[in-house]
């Protein structure tokens, strides 16, 4: 266990699927050679294939103290990066239309807004994903080079690019498939929770740019932080696939009450738009208690009361949503 643990909470009720977080991350970290297909932050439609395809079903993580097997996703599962022929069109005077190459056949959020059916009603929601910076990271355990480490001062999981030899055991071990192989460098890469920004007192790029203001960042063990309050006090945020055994430090407020037709949704236990079974699949059985808690908070405000939990979830300003403590992450060399 690290001395402190940075964590993120994402409120899925507020995610627009606009991919601003994805682009913020990409421009900052993966606009390099070999990284075109990588999205350290991605937003996928749920239910759906996910990115890489079927990542939630192919394996990895822990069971009874042992790492679980998994194949490596292929480039078709991620989607090859494509480029557009701007040079020919704009500079060489070719009359052909601007076209992507290679022909896109799969990719990040390829099945956007397809979703699923609940009886005769379509439903979907967006699931933004970054590395979970797990308390018990399977990737770290799987690396024979000891190239992956969890920062003692803040719990961020990073890959030492000098030690990494590109063996990819970590990719197989990660049940969230949030590590990517860069064939140009021959090494693996992943989300670094924007630690260089945090060390300067700036919040993660994905969280800073989010127009939906659905991301909350802070130390899980800091009683003043929004993540501490949402996860440990109000108990309305849960990790993804807790049964994978890695103890993620990214938490989600589940989509709890979208109405089917009317202005107000009924209780998920009465007339769910998003089937409870699917939420249990993603977040475990505890999700039902969380939704009941959220519905009670909503009812309280609808009856004229005040809900601390919902006020926090509104996240009006950066001070509410982010609690970055640069003084805690001074590395003593």
């Amino acid at each position: 266990m690290s001395r402190h643990q940075y964590a993120m909470v994402m409120d899925l009720n507020k995610c627009l699927g606009c991919q601003t977080c994805t682009i913020a991350c990409k421009k900052l970290w993966t606009d390099r050679d070999g990284t075109g297909y990588m999205y350290w932050n991605n937003v996928e439609t749920r239910p759906g294939l996910g990115y890489p395809r079927q990542w939630d079903r192919i394996g990895g993580g822990w069971k009874d103290g042992s790492l679980q097997p998994s194949p490596l996703p292929t480039m078709d599962d991620y989607g090859h990066a494509w480029e557009y022929n701007y040079e020919q069109r704009l500079y060489e005077g070719k009359k052909q239309p601007v076209m992507p190459s290679p022909e896109p056949k799969s990719g990040c959020n390829w099945d956007e807004d397809v979703g699923g059916m609940n009886e005769d009603e379509n439903y979907f929601f967006y699931l933004p994903r970054i590395c979970n910076h797990c308390t018990h990271p399977a990737c770290l355990e799987a690396c024979p080079r000891k190239a992956i480490y969890k920062r003692e001062e803040d719990g961020i999981v990073v890959i030492d690019q000098d030690r990494c030899q590109g063996y990819r055991y970590c990719i197989k071990a990660c049940p969230y498939k949030k590590i990517y192989f860069n064939e140009v460098t021959g090494k693996s890469e992943k989300c670094i929770f924007c630690y260089p920004r945090l060390e300067k007192g700036q919040v993660n790029a994905c969280a800073a740019q989010c127009p939906g203001r659905l991301r909350f960042v802070g130390l899980l063990d800091d009683p003043e932080s929004p993540v501490h309050k949402l996860v440990l006090i109000h108990k309305i945020a849960l990790p993804l696939f807790p049964e994978k055994g890695t103890q993620p430090n990214v938490f989600y407020v589940p989509p709890f009450n979208p109405p089917k037709r009317e202005n107000y949704g009924k209780s998920i236990q009465e007339d769910p738009r998003v089937p409870l079974d699917y939420l249990i699949y993603l977040f475990g059985p505890e999700v039902e208690d969380v939704i009941v808690r959220l519905e009670a908070e909503l009812k309280k405000t609808q009856e004229g009361g005040r809900s601390e939990a919902l006020q926090l979830l509104i996240g009006r300003d950066a001070e509410t949503r982010f609690h970055v403590r640069p003084q805690l992450v001074q590395i003593q060399l």
Partner: protein, 244 residues
């Protein structure tokens, strides 16, 4: 937590005995000796002169073993490459080692050259073409202090008292020098070394140019088969051989 199974559990009796005999503190038996030819040709001629340059050099077939599964999550692998043919010649102050082995799958690609200009200044970046391929490779390992050690280092990348040098060649990424002091400590320094590799008729032929090593030096060989997803300790290895 247990991910690394004890090596001995999964290994067969033959492998087990060969590994025990290869532990630090044992001397290789005479059956493990490798004859070293002397050549008046230049090292460069032997490296780049083609098969004719090696006509007169004695060959020894060295048995390869398959490492047992190192991790619980490893897919099992069969012994597809049972041996490697080794020729060694001393020439021009160098030791040239030719490894020849049969591998029906040619796991090597030419990666796109990365321009020297910063990626942000370019229209196009070099892209990752595949993330699930591994490449054929081979290596020669010997004690970092040849001649000074009376006993052979641990076969598992040496040990704290007996560091090893590893001359590693990868069919895609080329030659690189490594040093190690035990399993998991392998460290690439930035250096390369002269190597020549050809693949023909399902056969790899790789010539390593090593510094001259005194007779009595122990050397060991390793071969990786990319299509068996070999990398790291997932490989074929020989036990220590002794240069005559």
């Amino acid at each position: 937590m247990r991910i690394r199974q004890p090596l001995i559990i999964a290994s067969g009796v033959l492998l087990l005995s060969s590994m025990i005999s290869a532990q630090a503190g044992t001397k290789p038996t005479p059956g493990q000796s490798l004859s070293v030819s002397i050549s008046s040709a230049s090292a460069d001629h032997l490296l780049n002169g083609g098969p004719a340059a090696w006509n007169q050099i004695a060959v020894k077939r060295v048995a390869l073993n398959r490492t047992p599964p190192l991790y619980d999550t490893d897919e099992p692998a069969t012994l597809e490459i049972p041996s490697v043919d080794v020729r060694i010649v001393r020439a021009g102050g160098k030791l040239l080692v030719q490894l020849n082995w049969r591998d029906p799958t040619h796991d090597a690609v030419t990666l796109t050259d990365v321009p020297n200009t910063p990626p942000e200044t370019r229209f196009r970046k070099v892209q990752t073409e595949a993330n699930d391929r591994f490449f054929d490779a081979a290596a020669v390992m010997f004690p970092a202090k040849p001649g000074l050690d009376a006993i052979a280092p641990s076969l598992q990348m040496g040990d704290a008292e007996h560091p090893v040098d590893i001359y590693y060649w990868n069919a895609t990424r080329g030659a690189m020098l490594m040093q190690a002091q035990g399993r998991g400590t392998t460290h690439r320094n930035a250096q390369s070394f002269p190597v020549n590799s050809t693949y023909q008729n399902g056969q790899w032929n790789v010539i390593f140019e090593l510094p001259d090593l005194p007779s009595g030096t122990t050397v060991a060989f390793a071969v990786w088969n990319g299509s068996q997803k070999d990398r790291d300790g997932r490989k074929y290895f020989s036990i220590w051989q002794v240069l005559e």
